[in-house]
Symmetry: C2
Subunit: 199 residues, 2 copies
Amino acid sequence: MIKFPKPIQDLIDQFCKLPGIGPKTAERLVYFLLKQNKNEIDEFALSLNQINNSVVKCSICHNISEKDPCAICADKNRDHKLICIIAEPHDLAAVENTGEFKGVYHVLGGVLDPLSGMTPDRLKFDDLLAKLQKNKVAEIILAFNPDMEGEATMIYLNNLLKSFKVKITRLARGMPVGSDLEYTDEITLSSAIKNRKEM
Amino acid sequence: MIKFPKPIQDLIDQFCKLPGIGPKTAERLVYFLLKQNKNEIDEFALSLNQINNSVVKCSICHNISEKDPCAICADKNRDHKLICIIAEPHDLAAVENTGEFKGVYHVLGGVLDPLSGMTPDRLKFDDLLAKLQKNKVAEIILAFNPDMEGEATMIYLNNLLKSFKVKITRLARGMPVGSDLEYTDEITLSSAIKNRKEM
């Protein structure tokens, strides 16, 4: 088995480490790159080096950014009394893209999942508590995936933040746009009925 | 839309250039990398640089290799009178992995597909003819995908090589291992019937 020259095999192995990329796909990607101009490969390598050298974590919200503090935390036009707690930096992009949210963020760094080793000490809870003690916060929005780990994290956060007498909200559950009544699961549909709105 | 810091967006764009990777997958891959150790990202960048610096094309068979000539062309134990013509370097790996073939290769660099601009002048036909004029070749195996472009390339090669009085063979068509009679297409099944073998 296997006859690839070492540099090719090394790059295949690198691609294989990425989520959702198996050996066959990795092979295809590497052969695609080999057909490209050398400059293109150089640019790719450069981009990788760039994220190592110019991406930092914002010390306030733990988002990934070019500067510390990040553009959102440094923006005085945003409402710093409104904090949206999210699991990962990519969730921030999703919330930002709606254009609905004008507050600031706090990136927890994951969700509670003790079986996979994600215990409370590995998430940025301490930082969040320190932030609440220092600043006046009016509302906290919990924006987590409505799955088991997300729900557990929200329940944990709700208990943790009870003593601060801050308003804690969560994203509404209901039917997504373009979905089909017939195929909507019971929990989602019952949430949608409970939270029905007047027209 | 879009709130990614420039280095992240650049890397997303680089991943998007790869086949089968869309913006959402690229985003996921970049966020995955951002969660890794900086060394891991460095290694990835290094691997990319490596294939730029240490991978060459074998001047004899046009395969991708660390040396020129490649290990297969330089191997005196292989039968240099038996040439397997393939479209791309990754087809070589597939044939090699069977362990059935002990000859040498000639990588055409693609298949004929005039509508996509793959005309005969862009493939390594001249080189193949020069090789046949210079060396004694006993048999040529055409190992192309049995699709329209592959078949067209094999017909073209067959016409081109007729004058050399060399034995030209092609890979057998038939039912792949583990397939189902019921779902086999007619052309494959009729090939399998025509080429039936005594037990």
